[in-house]
């Protein structure tokens, strides 16, 4: 009876206790690592804040237009604050990972390994989205200004089209990088983009037939006989 009790009840408890005893130093070291991480992250944040203030990063960002981009992107903090918060977060994440590692639990170690392997994809996707956003703003604005200066009515539609097209392309690339619905996203993008281009070509072809004819006639005419200028005002 005593043997049965020992085997069924006492031994597992002894094992558990033994394991807890073995685990406790890991837990303790993990807590210490986390504590040190918090202090270092805070110190780095404060130090960086001072450094960025000395170099007047906020004004530099304002001058190069980065503040404007961030505000348009919904970030209300100043660029220096954002940098400090970002670095604080990164340092903290590094120490959290170190703390988890020091627990020496296989499942967690596997998860961390997978996370680390996936991390570059997240980083590249974020960079892609930021670049896409900046490029979409730049090119859509350039198209809008050129269209307005050409006197094209409803230039706003061109602006939106360019902006949306670049953002859709960027998001597709980012999702592909993250490996989310890889094939589905590319197929969906190809269908939507191809369809849109086909629709626009068709619309231009049907609606702009007369305009194209007129344009070509004018060009051929202009080459053979110079037309009388409509506006004789000289700007320069």
């Amino acid at each position: 009876m005593q043997g049965v009790f020992d085997k069924i009840i006492a031994e597992p408890f002894r094992d558990l206790f033994q394991r807890m005893i073995e685990f406790l130093p890991n837990l303790l070291s993990s807590i210490i690592v986390l504590g040190i991480g918090l202090i270092i992250a805070w110190a780095v944040k404060v130090l960086l804040q001072k450094l960025l203030q000395i170099f007047n990063i906020d004004n530099v960002c304002k001058r190069v237009g980065l503040t404007d981009i961030l505000q348009k992107g919904g970030f209300k903090d100043s660029p220096s604050n954002l940098i400090c918060k970002g670095i604080y977060g990164i340092v903290l994440v590094i120490f959290v990972i170190m703390a988890l590692y020091s627990l020496k639990i296989d499942a967690i170690e596997n998860l961390i390994e997978k996370f680390f392997l996936y991390l570059p994809n997240i980083f590249v996707a974020i960079i892609l989205i930021i670049f896409g956003y900046v490029l979409s703003n730049f090119f859509s604005r350039a198209v809008l200004i050129a269209a307005v200066n050409r006197g094209i009515k409803h230039s706003g539609i061109l602006y939106t089209t360019v902006k949306v097209a670049i953002m859709v392309l960027t998001i597709t690339m980012a999702l592909e990088q993250l490996g989310i619905g890889k094939d589905t996203v590319i197929i969906a993008f190809s269908i939507i983009f191809g369809g849109a281009v086909f629709a626009v070509s068709l619309a231009f072809g049907l609606a702009g037939k007369e305009i194209a004819k007129e344009f070509l006639e004018k060009r051929i005419k202009r080459d053979s006989e110079p037309e009388e200028p409509e506006d004789e005002l000289k700007h320069l």
Partner: protein, 442 residues
């Protein structure tokens, strides 16, 4: 290798060996007339003749050099310059043949009028000339008198810079009339009527000073040389005057170039110079006339075609479509005004001068603060500029040339009056920065 450096400094331009030999042969000269060119074979012969006749008629006792600085013409421009000879007997009843020489050379550097001028300045410096003049190669209305008017004030009256003053149609040069002249006058306090005229006279001292400036790899070398020369001379305290040259008739300047590109080139140059000389213009109040040489006259104006409806349509389209962009450049009250102006009919359309001055200053400040790409900021000004030109045409349709000049005088005074608006906004950012730094302490 047919090239070697004239000077070892990085600021000197590479001159060809034959040019150096010619300089060594001439040793020095009194007057240099430069002609920058690029595919001007049709017109440059006339310009060379006018220059030679002007130098022979008015400066027979001086040693003169004509320099053609060419940008790689493929139509034989340089051959035309080399082969053009003048039958002085058919032009002048009595004349003495002075010392006249030609230097024909392709220029080095970025393609553009500025690089051509750099070569001319460099030759002027090497020859230690007293006075220089530069004239465009596409001029059809140049006469020998232009050379006297551009050179004489430098040689005999001690002026360093002679700006041109042309007789032009009231609707010619609308960018100059509505932007460049008023803003240059308000900023630097000198009433130079044609700051981007293209034909100038200047002293050898000023040519050497231009060479000390490190701008030859910038837009100045491409297209901004005219306003740069004028502003540099004014801002650095050189002695300035104007010469009335009569009508300016030339080949159309790049008919393919669109308005927004022209506007971008000119306004961008003005804003870049504002950055460089902010310490000068922030202390200037009002303006003063500069001495004008030559016999000023006006003639009747031929009516020309102006597409007013087209300009107004583009203005309205710009206000509607670029409104969100303007919101980050212009203050609220100007936005409100533009919105209400866009709804007005042609008959009631009036763009006040003070509003226009504030708009130009706001765009300059937006470039200074780099609110977005400078190209975008300036090109988005095009619809508003067309609105101002349309308003100007409506107001002056029946006016004579003198009345139009008076109207432009009002516009310039508005720019001078609104200058405090520019100073407040331009230096706003720096004041805030300074305040922040002071609050932070050491």
């Amino acid at each position: 290798m047919a090239e070697s450096k004239v000077k070892e400094t990085n600021k000197s331009v590479v001159l060809r060996k034959e040019v150096q030999e010619k300089i060594a042969e001439l040793k020095e000269a009194d007057i240099l007339v430069g002609i920058p060119s690029y595919n001007n074979a049709k017109t440059i012969g006339h310009v060379v003749k006018a220059v030679q006749a002007g130098l022979t008629k008015y400066f027979p006792d001086y040693k003169s050099v004509l320099v053609n600085s060419d940008g790689g013409s493929v139509d034989g421009t340089m051959d035309v310059v080399k082969n053009t000879t003048l039958d002085l007997d058919s032009i002048l009843l009595q004349h003495r043949v002075g010392s006249f020489h030609k230097i024909v050379t392709p220029y080095q550097g970025i393609p553009g009028k500025g690089s051509a001028f750099r070569t001319i300045f460099e030759i002027a410096k090497e020859l230690n000339v007293k006075a220089c003049a530069v004239v465009d190669a596409d001029l059809r209305s140049i006469t020998p008198e232009w050379i006297e008017l551009l050179v004489r004030p430098v040689l005999d009256a001690g002026y360093d810079y002679v700006a041109p003053y042309y007789h032009r149609h009231k609707y010619d040069g609308t960018i100059t009339n509505t932007i460049v002249y008023p803003i240059t006058r308000a900023l630097y306090g000198k009433r130079i009527r044609q700051p981007i005229g293209g034909d100038f006279g200047f002293s050898g001292k000023l040519a050497a000073f231009y060479l000390t400036k490190d701008v030859w790899d910038t837009d100045v070398a491409r297209y901004g040389i005219d306003i740069w020369m004028t502003t540099t001379a004014v801002a650095n305290g050189f002695k300035i005057c104007q010469a009335f040259l009569g009508a300016k008739i030339h080949d159309p300047k790049d008919p393919g170039a669109d308005l927004s590109s022209m506007l971008h080139q000119v306004v961008n140059s003005v804003v870049n110079l504002m950055e460089e000389y902010e310490h000068v213009w922030k202390n200037v109040n009002g303006s003063e006339a500069v001495p004008t040489f030559g016999f000023v006259y006006t003639v009747g104006l031929e009516p020309i075609k102006v597409n007013l409806d087209g300009m107004l349509d583009k203005f309205r389209l710009g206000v509607k479509e670029l409104g969100r962009m303007y919101e980050s450049i212009l203050p609220g009250e100007l936005m409100w005004f533009l919105g209400s102006l866009a709804e007005k009919d042609k008959e009631d359309f009036h763009f006040p001068d003070n509003v226009w001055a504030e708009i130009i200053y706001s765009f300059a400040v937006a470039c200074h603060k780099k609110l977005m790409s400078t190209g975008h900021i300036i090109k988005s000004l095009t619809p508003l500029y067309l609105g101002k030109v349309a308003s100007f045409v409506i107001e002056t349709w029946e006016s004579t040339a003198d009345e139009v000049e008076q109207r432009l005088e009002q516009l310039c005074l508005a720019f001078e009056k609104e200058k405090t608006y520019l100073i407040d906004r331009w230096f706003e950012a720096e004041e805030t920065e300074k305040g922040d730094n002071e609050n932070k302490g050491p």
